[in-house]
Each structure stands twice: as C-alpha cells, then as structure tokens.
Subunit: 352 residues, 2 copies
C-alpha cells in the first residue's frame, strides 16, 4: 500500500452498512468526515449536485470504472489505480487532467479502515497528478451484490494546443516507441489472487503519464501522431487496435520490448504471454521517423529524473508498414516471425 | 419498459461472459455491434481513450453511479434512469447537459437481451434530453460479484448565463416550489422487489428536467436562488440539507405537497413516509417571494404542454424562515406541527 499514513477519523461505525448509501444521517457522517474533509477544495465544497467552473478551449473527457481484484496489491490499490487510469486516458488524448469525478459502489461490510486507506491513496495520487476531485457519488449494495469497492472516475482535461493525435495521422515509416517495461501491473495483481499467491517483489507500474506526454507534445507537436496506454489486453491488444483502425501494418522486434526479468519469469511460470498482460504506467507513441531518436532521448531524460513517475528504459519497438494491413507481426528473439492477434477470449479478468 | 423496439444485432453469444471485459475479440464484437453502433456520433467514433471537443464558458460537471434493483421497473429501467439522473444533476446546477460518459459494470451471465433493452432506453433518453454519449467503458465481473448491471454516467453541461444557484443566496421569505407530485419512483421500484410485489399502475416519474429549469432561469434569472432534485432520501432529505447548509429554517405545508392517491395508498400500505421516498423527475426550487406566483404559473404552463416531460401539478409548498435555523417544520393537514428530520438510517436501499 502506497498510501501516506494519516489517522482515520473518529466514526460511529467500523464497517460500511446499507445506511451509508441512504442519503440520510449515516451517509452525511461518513462523507463529511472522510471524502469531503480529505479532498477539500472550493469546487467540492460547493456540495452541489455537480461542480461548476470556467473552461475554455479544446477539452478532453474520459471515464473508466475500476473493478480490480483484489483491491490491494503490491505497489498500490484500487484508489490510486482509479486516479492514474483516468489521468492517463486523458493524457493519451494529448490532455492534462484538471478535474476528476469520483464515484464509489461499496459493498455492505467493507471495513472503514480499507475505505480510508483507499481514500488516502486517491488523495496522494491526485496530488501527484495535479488533478482536483470536484464531484462525487457513493452507493452501497448488499453483501454478495458487489465486491468490496468499485470506483468510477471520469476526468476533464485541457488538450495541448499542439496535439494532433489520431490513428488517421499514422503513416508508413513511423516509429513505435514504448515508454517503459511491460506486464508488471498484471503480474503484481495476479500475485495476490486467491489460490495463486506467489512470492515476488514485483509491484504495479501504475503512474501518471501526463508529464512525459506534455513534454513530447511541447517539443515535437504534430510529430507525435498517436498515443495509447496498453492497459487491459496489454501491448498486443493496443497495437492490434491501432493496426485495425489505421488500416496499416505494424512490425515489432521482440528483443526491443523492455521487460523486467522477474516479471518475465512470472509470466513463464503462469503460462502468460507478457504482450497481453495489463500495464498501468506505460504508453506507446507512434512518431514521425525523423524525430524518433530525439523523442526516445527525451523520454530517457525524463525517466532518469529523480522526480520522474515513469519507468524506464523506453525503447523504439517497431515501425508502421504498408505491408500486412491490419496485422501486427512480431520478429522474435530467435529470428522467427509470427502474427500477434487480438486476444480471442479472456486472459486475466478484473485486472483494472 | 419504455425502450423503443429495435431488433437486437446478430451476435455469437446470448449472455455476457468475462471475455466481454477483456479488451479482446469478444469485447470488440460486443461493443462494435451494440454501443458504438447505437450511439454513433462524431465524438464517440473517434474511439479514443476519451472524447475531445471545444468548450467555453461556465461549465458544470457531475457524476452518479446507478445500482437500482431490480434493473427493470414500471415506466423505465436502469438505463433511462442513468441518463435522466445525471442530466438532472446538471440541471440542478443551472446547466443544460451536452456530453455524457457511459460506464458499465456487467455481471457475468447477464442476458444480452437485457443489455440491449437497457441500451435502447439509454439511446431514447439521451435523445429526449438532447445529450450526446461521447465516451464510455465496459467492465465485467464474475457471477456473484455484481448484480446484473451497474451504470455510471458523468456529464458535462453549459451553465445558463443568468444562473446564480447556491444555498448562500437563499433568504428568509423566499418561497419553496415543488415541480410535481412526489414518491412515485420509489414506490414503482419497490412494487417489483422480490417478496414485496404488489399490483399497481404506479410508474416511475423519471424524466429530464432541463427544460423547465432553463425556462425559469431565462425568465427570472437571479430570482431563482436554489435548485435540487429530491432523489435518494426524498423531499425530506433535500429540505434538511438545504436548511443545514443555509443555516435557515424551512416551513412546509403538508396539504400543499402534491402526491398521487395511489402512491399515497401504497406508502401507507408499506409503512413508508412519502417525504422520504425517492423521486427522479421532480425538483424543488427556492425563489424570491415576489416571483413565486409567476414561477409557479410558468411551471404549470410547461407541465400542461403535450410535449412536456415534467409531471404536474407544481405547488408552492413552503417558505424559508429565520426561525428554527437548520430545521424543517411540517404543518400537517390536521393542524399539527412536527419536525421533519434527516433519515437516521436506511429506508429504501438501491432505489437509484
């Protein structure tokens, strides 16, 4: 758990009950002493049915629900995941997140201690990402009709004025850059699954990605053609989606894809292809081939800063090609070639 | 069910499975043939991690998760409820909803037929409310870890230029207007609860409320001091929240509160106080006493139009007073006075 320590407020209950979703006295006590106190800001303090603020220019809007199981895993929990995930969806639109909504579906019986830990992680992640939580909602469902905590965050962000991010701008010859090593989030969560626990020091890569994305856009503008974070379904799914949407082919080098040795070992042990395992702190960007080396250098620079939230090393993992349109081809370490398909079914349910 | 009829698309499955939440082939087939086809618009078609659009001026942002049980009830289902609920939260900020996000948490085993019916209701409700669904998310949880369907909608709207809506503008002497009869949503849902079914023609009042709110703001501007829709916890909770926040008292006349005879009968039968029963198509507004009669007349006019979505009759139900600050006092039909408190616990769980 990465939450900062902070004493839990004095409450007249130690688990969540249906009454906490009623709109009545219990719900007021819970929210006033936890959420509203912790995330205090002028917009949230309006305590309206929504938040109002002045906005102008190109705006990005995104939503995600988080159902990760278990809710606590090495390096994080559902709370910081829910902040970083939506902040990153906005970053992939070329936008810096400004405002987040925060909606909980709590299961009756959830320990208040767990709820508090999650709230602290949310606060911490929101501060790191420079985003304000301005409106929210809390519902409670009966025991057995939920699973501890589900969170939805929706976000509003300001699009970088130089951003021209779309699969239609992707061209043959463009380079595919991956910002950092893959598969650690999925493996960190799997390592805590009931019946599957294994000893490892692998932690989630969950991190906000706006900083490197804004730096790329500042410097290279339209040279940055496409951005996407390979979460559910992993790198393979994201690349397939791009190939299908753009009608172009993608060729990648297995040897160029960064992966932590321990993560690779765990994937082997579990029989998982790391290309399909979820990430929460990495992104791919497709860039004009003429700026590829400079863009890589910029990401390396950022990744090496002490204050950096991103993981390194970044790597140029492949190129866009007019051949085999709609398909992703992997050149393996041992010299073979294979098609990397969309996952036909489900590999790792509830990973985010 | 209020959904328009429309043939269900041909799919290779008839229930939701975990694979539909994987990011892989199954999820693409489900979303492409249902959600993306049904809600087709330029922003959604971007198929980005979020939607981007130009926005300017005072903007309202709101979120709500919907966990109503059962998901189908007389007059509606969780789908139209999720659209109207968030559209109305924005209306209560004095804003007209423009863009909605739509996030599902589906339980494994949900019949595709049910999912399709809900999608059609969402489409229908969004069209009625004049709002576009521009971004979304779909997660699937194992059987027994959810309850059919949970929906989160978040919304962005443009605040009316004349809107000055806040409890701090509420003054002694102001009139409290209720837009229509209370308690029918809660009773309609209760009538379908397992072990509690009863025969009734009561239907939910779920409806979009932006039209009457915009008309009030157009005409009376700052004369409209406060707006709130009494959903969870009902009219009693909303009035108590206003009394507590403003530090003023509220006096209401029981005889002036509109309620359908059948709804009142059902409340008596179930031992429920209709003041605490949820509404989804009514709002209260606190207005300058000098415009109260005109505002009432305007609401009456709108309610009587054939195309109107709101229910009538509206009524002036009370006044703001400097006496008994923070308290709501009811003058009963039989001449008594009683304090109307915040609900101490839970009356009707999962009503929205």
């Amino acid at each position: 758990m990465t939450a900062p320590s902070c004493p839990i407020p004095k409450l007249n209950f130690d688990i969540i009950t249906l009454g906490h979703g009623s709109g009545g006295v219990l719900m007021h006590e819970l929210l006033n002493k936890t959420v509203l106190e912790l995330f205090r800001n002028d917009l949230l303090d309006q305590q309206h049915d929504g938040a109002s603020f002045e906005l102008s220019g190109q705006t990005a809007f995104s939503t995600d629900s988080y159902v990760v199981s278990p809710i606590f895993f090495p390096g994080g929990n559902i709370g910081d995941l829910a902040v970083n995930g939506t902040v990153n969806d906005l970053a992939m639109c070329g936008a810096r997140a400004k405002y987040l909504s925060l909606a909980f579906i709590l299961e009756e019986g959830l320990p208040i201690n767990d709820f508090w830990t999650i709230l602290l992680s949310i606060k911490n992640a929101a501060e790191k990402a420079g985003v304000q939580i301005v409106t929210g909602d809390t519902k409670v469902v009966e025991k057995g009709k939920g699973d501890g905590v589900f969170i939805n965050t929706s976000g509003i962000g300001t699009v970088h004025p130089k951003a021209r991010i779309h699969h239609r701008y992707v061209q043959p010859g463009d380079a595919v850059i991956l910002s950092g090593p893959i598969a650690s989030h999925g493996i960190a969560v799997m390592s805590q699954r009931q019946g599957l626990q294994f000893e490892t020091s692998i932690v989630t890569d969950s991190a906000p990605l706006a900083e490197p994305v804004m730096a790329l856009l500042d410097r290279f503008g339209e040279g940055i053609r496409f951005l996407r974070d390979p979460t559910r379904g992993g790198l393979a799914t994201t690349l397939n989606e791009l190939a299908l949407a753009s009608g172009l082919g993608i060729e990648i080098q297995q040897s160029a894809i960064p992966i932590d040795e321990q993560v690779e070992g765990a994937c082997e042990m579990l029989g998982l292809d790391p290309l399909y395992v979820a990430n929460e702190g990495a992104f791919i960007t497709v860039v004009d081939q003429n700026i590829a080396e400079d863009a890589l250098a910029l990401l390396k620079n950022i990744g090496q800063k002490q204050s950096s939230t991103i993981h390194h090393p970044p790597s140029i993992i492949g190129t866009i090609t007019p051949d085999h349109p709609g398909k992703v081809i992997l050149n393996s370490r041992i010299g073979g070639k294979r098609v990397v398909n969309l996952l036909p079914g489900e590999q790792l349910p509830r990973i985010c």
